[in-house]
Amino acid sequence: MWQGFPLFPEQASSLAARVDEFYIFMWLVTAFFTVTISATMLYFAVRYRRRRADERPGEIHGSLALELTWTIIPLLIVVVMFVWATLLFFAQRRTPDDAMQVTVVGKRWMWKLQHMTGQREINELHVPVGKAVRLMLTSEDTIHSFYVPAFRMKMDAVPGRYNETWFRATKPGKYHIFCAEYCGTEHSGMIGWVYAMEPTDYQLWLAGGPAPVSLAEMGQKLFAERNCATCHTPQGAGRGPVLNGLPGSKVLLQGGEEWVADDTYLRESILRPSAKIVSGYQPVMPTFQGQLGEEDLAALIAYIKSLPAAAGDAAGRPSSNVPASK
């Protein structure tokens, strides 16, 4: 139980060291001001302690110079803190492009994690060391918060939307996963482990596990089962738009609006096809709301992404669409 007396959790991610540096800087500033002001206070209290009951100390109203100094100096210190912390924040929130994606779904009192390569894990996440991992978080009921202290990383899983964060493990090992947003009775039971493994061990784990069907293959099976192929043909002769090379490209909608086919667009078009009808097509596609779970959707999207790009090349991927507003 007593492994020495740690003051920091393990530094197991690329950003952990930077967060700890900033943490130490903040403690130094706090210690400096607390000690100096308390010592000054105690020194004055002892040096000028009341010796006679009827002492009448002199009149000191205040001094503008002093007031300005202890307004401007704290202001400067605070600006330094703000700039340093915000740069750190940008690093924490800007996901590298080469990141592998894991979808994290919080469901009351367990974490369901799903790799793009098809592995599904409950309360466990196996990741290779040195590889950036993008987490797409959502929840099926209340708000949860995916928190790995060793990576200094935390992001809420909010129902009804995707939140994105990322980490890059740097040290192999087994690290805690906690739920950090109160979510009911077993809030403290909603914990698990991240296994950061050497790339070779990770490949072994990938292979070693039950012959995992990759997400795309699972998507293909679903695509066939739900006979999507009858309308969505690669050559575009069917009643539905061509899906090859669709992800990331610009789609011309009825009413002349242009929309980028990102994950949210694909997910919405499967669940609520009549939402954005591609120009030149009829709104005949049935809705799959309630029939496909989050995992099935992720599988279908993965499959669509894996389709070889047809004639047109995929346009640049602007980040997202600001809701049209009047």
Binding site: R49, T71, T86, R108, M155, E186
Partner: protein, 544 residues
């Protein structure tokens, strides 16, 4: 029991305590001093209850496994601790007891502007307290004092609406207190009492009242929306019905962050009084301290989303809130520097109120500066929702507000009861509180950075050592808080009789007998000199 202490002082024959007898004279009083004592009693009951729940929570956390209570009960315990302490002790504590008692006297008025509304405010507080206690005892509430949706609206099967109604009613009581103070300070100051001759205690309560008036209604309407969503299936915050849970957090924290300044600003007012009286010197930089109270009141409304940095709000809004949260720390720093400078070349006495004031300055420094950790977004990602946050706000609330409340209670006890408290017992309890408090909450900073999340019923083994230390500290703190209840009650009967101005301190409230007559002053006093003028012996209004 000791015999009646023989002192030269004699109690004034006619004062507000013996002006009238009987239950009706207390339950239907419109005298601001009696209403303050009614509040003192009910706020102490709330503190005892909240403290009891805290002890139960600390007991459960002695062991990593959850083996003392069931998970539901633990969740109901920490929720009850939070709700009772925040809404029924911290917010009313200083404004409703010391503020109600002293504000009219400090500005030379006979009473608050609306005495009957003052009594209504106490009744609303008691009704709200009873309704909330009913919700907490019969069935309990397990959403935490923050009521986050969609848990509180769709998944909690505890008394959310009942507790919400109780908090709504007590929120209205807080609004009425603030409303009364604003009008009294504006309209009922004695002749010669200009704004910059008012005691800093009054400035702090003016700033607090602004927040109470402009902040509380927003949480009131948010509670109504949560109740409407639970009862009538409106869909405000439920994602399955189109609502946005993060909008609840915006509306909730729009009030709840200024609410923490409702808790700390009166404490700062008390500390300004204690520091200047016990160093017997005019406060250093009076104007800056007064203005920093107003600055805090205004800036506190612009910083709320530093509670939501990881909720998925936009990156750019997080940056704006982070910058503003850093700004709000500057006025607090100005105050601490000015208090320390006041001691310079003073005549500092180490009586109990000064012990609490010095304790406040030390602990509020740690509390305030750890707030900067949370304003920095990069660090907040790691520490939010962990025990680092629990330690931060307990340093500001217990180390700050409760230390100032106890210091103020001891400082004005002779004025309220005409009796002196036993000095040595008071110093013992002050030291106990200081030691117990630090032992309880310093380990929690480390726990927080190690990653122990908040509101955890069971935790991994490696956190046990620090948790045991924290629980040990909690028991010392508990004793430290119980002592004053005994010796202060004892002093009401057997304490040495106090003169009108035992310290002696400046301020109009000390120029009238202790305990004061019902109408405070025989004649409305005229103020002709600066506040805190210790160069001349204190004046006394001759009782004609």
């Amino acid at each position: 029991m000791p015999t009646q202490p023989i002192t030269s002082e004699t109690m004034p024959k006619e004062h507000y305590l013996n002006a009238d007898y009987g239950i009706r004279s207390w339950l239907l009083t419109i005298d601001h001093k009696r209403i303050a004592l009614l509040y003192l009693l009910s706020v102490t009951v709330a503190f005892a209850l909240g403290g009891a729940y805290a002890v139960l929570v600390r007991l459960e956390l002695l062991t990593p496994a959850g083996d003392f209570f069931t998970a539901e009960n633990y969740n109901k315990m920490f929720t009850a601790h939070g709700v009772i302490m925040v809404f029924f002790f911290m917010i009313p504590a200083i404004p409703a007891t010391l503020g109600n008692f002293l504000l009219p006297m400090m500005i030379g008025a006979k009473d608050l502007a609306f005495p009957r509304i003052n009594l209504l405010s106490w009744y609303l507080y008691v009704v709200g307290f009873l309704v909330t206690l009913g919700a907490l005892f019969v069935g309990g509430l397990d959403t935490g004092w923050t009521f986050y949706t969609p848990y509180s609206t769709a998944f909690a099967n505890s008394n959310v609406v009942a507790a919400g109604v109780g908090i709504f009613i007590s929120g209205f009581s807080s609004i009425l207190t603030g409303f009364n103070f604003i009008v009294t300070i504006h309209k009922m100051r004695a002749p010669g009492m200009t704004w910059f001759r008012m005691p800093l205690f009054v400035w702090a309560h003016y700033a607090t009242s602004l927040i109470q008036i402009l902040g509380t209604p927003v949480v009131a309407v948010t509670i109504l929306m949560v109740a409407a969503e639970r009862l009538f299936k409106f869909g405000f915050f439920d994602p399955t019905r189109g609502g946005d849970p993060i909008l609840f957090q915006h509306l909730f924290w729009f009030y709840s962050h200024p609410a923490v300044y409702i808790m700390i600003l009166p404490a700062m007012g008390v500390i300004s009084e204690l520091v200047t009286c016990f160093s017997r010197k005019r406060v250093f930089g009076y104007d800056f301290i007064a203005m920093s109270s107003l600055a805090i009141a205004v800036l506190s409304f612009l910083v709320w989303a530093h509670h939501m940095f990881v909720s998925g709000m936009s990156v750019y809004a997080a940056m704006i809130f982070s910058a503003l949260s850093f700004l709000v720390a500057i006025p607090s720093a100005i105050k601490v520097f000015n208090w320390t400078a006041t001691l310079f070349r003073g005549s500092v006495s180490w009586q109990t109120p000064m012990l609490y004031a010095m304790g406040f300055i030390g602990l509020f420094l740690i509390g305030g500066l750890t707030g900067l950790f949370l304003a920095s977004v990069g660090l907040d990602i790691h520490v939010t929702d962990t025990y680092f946050i629990v330690a931060h706000f307990h340093y500001v609330m217990v180390g700050g507000t409760i230390m100032a409340y106890l210091g103020g209670l001891h400082f004005w006890w002779p004025k309220m009861t005409g009796r002196l408290y036993p000095e040595w017992w008071a110093r013992v309890s002050a030291v106990l509180v200081f030691v117990g408090f630090n032992t309880t909450f310093l380990p929690q900073f480390i726990l927080g950075y190690l990653g122990m999340p908040r509101r955890y019923y069971a935790y991994p083994e490696e956190f046990q050592v620090l948790n045991v230390m924290s629980t040990a500290g909690a028991s010392i703190l508990g004793v430290g808080f119980l002592l004053p209840i005994f010796y202060l009650a004892w002093s009401m009967r057997y304490g040495r009789i106090s003169s009108a101005n035992p310290w002696p301190a400046t301020g109009l409230e000390w120029q009238t007998p202790s305990p004061p007559p019902t109408e405070n002053f025989p004649r409305t006093p005229v103020v002709d000199e600066e506040a805190y003028d210790y160069t001349r012996p204190p004046k006394e209004i001759a009782l004609v």
